[in-house]
Symmetry: C2
Subunit: 264 residues, 2 copies
DNA sequence: CGATCTGTTGACTGTTATCAACTCCGGTGG
DNA sequence: CCACCGGAGTTGATAACAGTCAACAGATCG
């Protein structure tokens, strides 16, 4: 895989879902796109529109957000390499707003490019479908997050998910998560009030699970956070890693260097 | 479309999502299946299994349920004609338990049958994908239901969804919904306690929106319920009907015969 | 006809939302 | 350079909503 290839995160992810031959890479490399640098809270799509282009996120975060019901509930968050609206290649109807969280770099790719990709290669189509289904699995998990965990577990789980997805594309290697998120946005994602989100984050800080300074969240006790959240990443459909289960679950409290050691 | 065809509800739904030629119907009619009569709370699939057969619901209800997190949260509900695990034709991993709610009749169809169907006909594949995507759209909507509505609106919305989906397959024509649901199960679907579900239902009854006797829920004021729930059925991806918007939204309170008239 | 599951009610508790005030910070213009 | 401004974060007080516990009633089923 060419490293400098601007879509390599996307291509790598596809490759983990199905075998990609060099022919497939050639097809992908021909991806026509126009690259935009978007400011925070830029709307890429709005409810009611019909999709003509898919949005491949290169840098930053995107989220799907409900434009109704005040507080603008966030129903999913996406990291570089994701194409949040990939499913519009089969159904172009847009149910929610696709919005940047913080500044972001986005590649617009004609919907037809992916359609033709799918038509030309069954194995590529299958990989694309698995990407779409992974998003659906994430949605189902999101239901459980907002409905069956309390505030502390919810925030912890969301951060575990973001960290894991970033690490899967080579980011946040040291559990330092770039965070353009405001506490209000975090609250919208965890479906709670901004005030309560603030108090919840303070509690996570007091528990020495994380720090949050200057637009960076640093998870200082990963296994502690995972345990608190009950985080089981199978639903993300990522290649399995060994850095989720704590090495010694018998230790009830751990903030030492071992928990922070590089894990791969 | 043959009326007696046991899979006609499924075939009809497919036909609304893409043009089905008589060739397609022939292919569908060859569906191999074994039909099971299941008692209430029968587990058809469990987390961690790999799917070999898809489950086409012929009568009754199915739900996806989280086996962890006590209360067994329900994350989706399915009506006759649905194939809740259709997406397993592309990814056989099972994340949740597939469980009957009340007695149900289910046809087991080999996963490979649908795979081959998809391979043989692009238009059939597209229709199957739209079914899968409609489930995904429902999941996203379910997130909003449990996260941004209060208890009363949540229950109202769930009942609107079930009624609409039943009516789309020719059931509940008079807004009488067969309900093998216990209040605990309704609570698990709306992510609230059983006690609170009970009180919420009582309030819906007191408001003359519905009755619930002998395993039948009767919606006595459909438009009132729709209004209370803020129900907008676009996400269900059903052919549009004219029975959602109230004819005269200026009338604040209505329980008269007009609101109950057959609406097709 | 007892056993069990479901529905109902009351009292109490607890989590989270809401409101309001205040601080802190970065940017901007005078 | 500083005053101001707006957005973000923080804090406390209060209220609303929903959960829990416990008891009982009613239905259903062997």
């Amino acid at each position: 895989m060419q490293a400098g290839f601007p879509f390599s995160r996307f291509a790598n992810r596809l490759a983990t879902l199905g075998e990609l031959s060099s022919d497939h890479l050639d097809l992908l490399a021909r991806m026509p796109s126009s690259i935009s640098h978007c400011s925070s809270r830029h709307h890429l799509l709005r409810r009611g529109e019909l999709s003509t282009h898919c949005h491949l996120l290169l840098q930053g975060y995107l989220c799907w957000q409900d434009p109704d019901g005040r507080d603008g509930r966030i129903i999913s968050i996406h990291v570089p390499g994701d194409v949040p609206d990939l499913s519009t290649i089969y159904d172009p109807r847009i149910d929610y707003d696709l919005v940047t969280v913080g500044p972001a770099v986005v590649a617009s790719v004609p919907r037809d490019f992916f359609r033709e990709l799918a038509e030309q290669s069954p194995s590529l189509e299958h990989a694309l479908l698995l990407l779409i289904l992974a998003d659906a699995a994430s949605s189902r998990n999101w239901i459980l997050n907002v409905s069956s965990r309390d505030a502390l577990e919810r925030v912890a789980h969301l951060l575990c998910e973001i960290a894991t997805r970033l690490r899967a594309v080579g980011l946040a290697k040291d559990f330092r998560i770039p965070s353009p998120f405001t506490q209000s946005e975090l609250a919208a994602a965890c479906s709670m009030s901004a005030v309560h989100a603030n108090r919840t984050i303070q509690e996570l800080r007091r528990s020495n699970l994380l720090e949050w300074h200057s637009k960076t969240i640093t998870i200082t006790n990963w296994y502690g956070l995972v345990r608190l959240a009950g985080f089981k990443p199978a639903y993300l459909r990522l290649p399995s890693r060994d850095d989720i289960e704590a090495p010694r679950p018998s230790t009830t409290r751990s903030g030492d260097a071992a928990t922070l050691a590089p894990l791969r």
